[in-house]
């Protein structure tokens, strides 16, 4: 089966002093139709910049240096700007973590959804309003018809995020990119929104690129996971394999440091140190400065991809040595 969205070698740089540093560095992944793919990483890992890069919305002074993005087999990374704009509204939609930054505070939310619809489709204002109403119902906004006339500040955080989702769904996108869609929400409201995304995804067989720092959200929603660290994907795999038997020392460390996986009274696992600043990213594996299993080659050579299970790949010299040693014993 050909993937619906395929990203190959995506690279985006930002200037740091005299140099340009690849904050997204050769990132590759693919998402099948109806699949939820989660990019997980801590702050500064490049997960949000990856999403902006594939939409070609990287803010200046960032620059996309290379890579391909294919949607349904069609190359979209080299499209002229107007065509790309159509793709963005139509086939790829995005919802952001803070709905207030994406909603115009002085325009009624219904009008904003109507505008989004009419930007991409030639339909009458009243037909667009009907569509907006049915979208509001679809995302389970209570009292939908009166909420169309509300201003953003009159809505709670959860309702604003539902409006954003309604707007993103307005053009029946094939891929929804959700960047920390519940970051600003309380946990009970987060549960409502995650449930909604789950239902919508199943109903429309929509593909979702989910960007998050939260392994819990990933586990609840994703089919496939890519773990990012300092601009690179270090491990990808099916949800169960990756969460049950993570192979990269970073993934292992992250999962082990979660209080939810810890035993009371015992110290939490710590990953030593912090993510190095952009100006000090090592040339080899970027995790080498914090890795408990660091080898001499880690500091200079980026590891080749290694398949450790069906669809489960890892970039790590130490894991490669483990696998080689196991093969020798066998």
């Amino acid at each position: 089966m050909t993937p619906l969205l395929e990203v190959v070698g995506l690279t985006t740089t930002f200037p740091v002093g005299p140099r340009r540093v690849p904050v997204v560095d050769g990132v590759s992944f693919s998402i099948a139709e109806g699949e939820v793919f989660a990019l997980i990483g801590e702050s500064g890992s490049g997960k949000s910049q990856t999403a902006l890069s594939l939409l070609r919305l990287v803010p200046k002074p960032g620059r996309i240096e290379g890579g391909q993005v294919r949607l349904g087999g069609r190359e979209i990374s080299s499209l002229p700007v107007p065509a790309m704009r159509r793709v963005r509204g139509h086939d790829l939609s995005m919802i952001f973590q803070e709905p207030m930054t994406s909603l115009n505070p002085v325009v009624r939310v219904g009008s904003q959804v109507v505008e989004a619809i009419r930007l991409h489709e030639r339909i009458s204002a009243s037909a667009a309003r009907d569509r907006a109403l049915s979208l509001f119902k679809k995302v389970q906004i209570p009292d939908a018809s009166s909420r169309l006339d509300a201003y953003p500040h009159e809505l709670s955080g959860g309702l604003k995020q539902r409006v954003m989702i309604a707007m993103a769904l307005a053009t029946n996108p094939r891929v929804l990119i959700a960047d920390e869609p519940t970051m600003a929400l309380d946990v009970t409201i987060q549960a409502q929104i995650l449930e909604l995304l789950r239902e919508l995804q199943q109903e429309f067989r929509m593909s979702i690129l989910l960007i998050t720092h939260d392994f819990g959200i990933v586990n609840e929603l994703a089919d496939h996971i890519g773990v990012m660290y300092a601009g690179r994907i270090v491990e990808t795999g099916p949800r169960q394999a990756l969460l049950a038997s993570p192979r990269h020392p970073y993934t292992q460390g992250l999962l082990a440091s979660m209080p939810a996986r810890a035993v009371r009274g015992q110290p939490l696992h710590e990953i030593a140190g912090v993510v190095p600043p952009l100006s000090k990213w090592p040339p080899g594996c970027r995790f080498c400065t914090r890795c408990p299993r660091v080898l001499p080659q880690c500091e200079t050579v980026w590891p080749e991809v290694l398949e450790v299970g069906p669809g489960h790949t890892v970039y790590c010299h130490a894991v490669r040595e483990d696998v080689a040693a196991a093969a020798k014993r066998a």
Binding site: E42, S43, P142, S156, G158, L159, D186, V187, T188, I189, Q190, A191, Q192, L194, E195, H213, D214, F215, G216, I217, N219, E220, R239, Q240, L243, A244, G253, L254, L255, S257, M258, P259, A260, R261, A262, R264, P267, L268, H269, E270, I271, V274
Partner: protein, 351 residues
């Protein structure tokens, strides 16, 4: 601890120093903090936001008590009221054998040293114009700890070592530190005046998982080493399960459930606690569990619903819930729940 930290149980108690106060470092009773809503030209009071509306909490010395709830529940206002950073409307706050709310500012001063706070965002809590040495020494100076400046610098170095920062960095400014390091500075600043009670207000919420683990471990070490007592204000149940001894769950200004951590989380007895727990995503790949078990949105704290404040969102509401206000009913498993379902069950010892 289990029995009767409730209004009912206390009704007959004399209004004096509470019994068992030697065990409780902090005993908050009937705390109310209302904020006036002012309207019009004359700024007349048009009503009150009842941010904290009758809260009882007792903290056992050397333990961690978690105050859990979502935004708008009043948990932060409880913390700020205890330190009198906001002035409570009513209630008693017993600390070190004295009711803080009866004390003059002068009498309050020595007690203030013994209660410190760690904030969510150390960047807003640390004045960016001061060097770390001065930020940490500031409290020492105002409470007369350390003989002179050189002595205080020594003490700052010792505290920085304690929070695992390089003492040489005391001459740097806050912006030269990472988020995790800044939180260590915030902790050092709180510990500099040798407090007994530390109120941690979402102290690890803004941190990445790997940094959060470092800070949680540090807080646990410091508690053991210095015999600290923590009031841990948070929305994160997985952190609570890991480190708290006792839990109070707040909703719209009131405590809806209290109890020892294990008992409360293994056997929640309030629908809001159940809903909170059902909303926490699982990190076990064999289990996907979240359910949206709390309906709709939070009502305005200025106009809390009549009856049980949770009834508008409760999946288990029944006949009395929108008419009468439930009390905190003690539970056999320890703690208490503000739910009629508990008052009607055999579990309850109240009438």
């Amino acid at each position: 601890m289990s029995e009767a930290r409730t209004n009912e149980a206390r009704a007959g108690e004399a209004r004096g120093k509470p019994e068992g106060a030697s065990e409780a470092l902090l005993d908050v009773r009937g705390l109310r903090t209302w904020f006036p809503i002012r309207r019009g030209l004359l700024r007349r009071t048009a009503g009150y936001v009842r941010a904290v509306d009758g809260v009882d909490i007792a903290l056992v010395r050397g333990t961690t008590h978690a105050l859990v709830g979502e935004s708008g529940c009043g948990k932060t206002t409880v913390g700020r009221s205890i330190l009198r950073l906001v002035e409570p409307t009513a209630g008693e706050i017993w600390f070190g054998g004295q009711n803080l709310l009866g004390l003059s500012p002068d009498a309050m001063r020595p007690l203030r040293r013994r209660m410190q706070m760690i904030f969510q965002d150390p960047m807003t809590a640390l004045d960016p114009r001061f060097r770390v040495r001065d930020l940490i020494a500031e409290g020492m100076e105002s409470f007369g700890i350390g003989g002179n400046a050189a002595d205080r610098t020594e003490r700052v170095a010792a505290i920085l070592r304690k929070v695992k920062l390089d003492p040489d960095h005391m001459w740097r400014y806050p912006h030269e530190f990472s988020g995790g390091q800044r939180q260590r500075v915030g902790i050092a600043r709180a510990l500099a005046v040798e407090p007994d009670l530390v109120i941690c207000d979402e102290a690890v919420s803004a941190l990445d998982v790997s940094i959060q683990a470092q800070i949680l471990n540090l807080l646990a070490e410091l508690r053991a080493e210095l015999g600290l007592t923590y009031l841990f204000i948070t929305h994160d149940l997985s952190v609570v399960r890991y480190l708290a001894d006792e839990i109070s769950v707040m909703y719209l200004g009131q405590i809806v459930e209290q109890g020892p951590t294990e008992a409360l989380l293994n056997e929640p007895r309030h629908p809001y606690t159940e809903g909170l727990m059902a909303a926490v995503p699982s990190v076990d790949p064999n289990e996907r569990r979240i359910r949206p078990a709390v309906l709709g949105d939070l009502p305005s704290p200025a106009h809390p619903p009549a009856g049980c404040r949770f009834h508008t969102r409760c999946p288990k509401r029944f006949e009395p819930c929108d008419k009468r206000e439930p009390a905190l009913y003690p539970l056999e498993r320890g703690g208490a729940s503000r739910c009629f379902l508990v008052s009607d069950s055999r579990d309850s010892r109240s009438p």
